[in-house]
Symmetry: C2
Subunit: 111 residues, 2 copies
């Protein structure tokens, strides 16, 4: 932990924020927890049926979660199978990391 007196540089703060933004929505949290409980990959249709929002909305959130590597996608035939990326879950920064200015765990490269 570095403890200079200045604020965290803006660029680092934005990188941290991009992490937390990925989990700053209730629908995304539901999707992520759903994928984590079923440890097996799930198709978009299954996620739609379980989450209660529209198909395009689920697809949109899955894209956001995939951009930060929180979920991994694999095409199989006509369907896309999503699964949780446990490496990325583990490297997610804690609040203590942020306030103490720990180095950012390289957002899009966690697994």
């Amino acid at each position: 932990m570095n403890a200079e007196k200045g604020p965290l540089p803006r660029a680092a703060a934005e990188e941290y924020a991009s992490w937390f933004k990925a989990l700053a929505d209730a629908t995304r949290i539901q999707i992520v927890s759903l994928l984590a409980r079923r440890r097996a990959p799930m198709s978009v249709g299954e996620i739609v049926a379980a989450s209660g929002v529209g198909q395009s909305t689920v697809s949109h959130h899955l894209k956001i979660l995939a951009e930060v590597r929180f979920v991994l996608v694999e095409r199989q035939g006509t369907s896309s199978l999503y699964r949780i990326n446990e490496n990325c879950v583990r490297s997610f920064p804690t609040a203590a990391d942020v306030v103490m200015g720990e180095p950012v765990p390289a957002a899009p490269t966690c697994g």
Copy 2:
């Protein structure tokens, strides 16, 4: 960790999301890290000077951070002194908590 098959209930997901929303902005992360590095309380004016955004903006973010008890405020004379709430930082949920459905650590009651 509970591992039923259904998604996390919407209410729990929203409570989690409210936590992460508090850190989902670069300016708030800068403010929080600033307060954590100086361990002493800081006035709003000091935070404004160090963060590079307007006074009303800082005041707005401090209000959000105080609502989730991430910072604590104490009036002293004409100025308000803000300091980090280390209990709240420690009880902030990890990503693993969320995806595994750990019980929410009682957002507004962490310290």
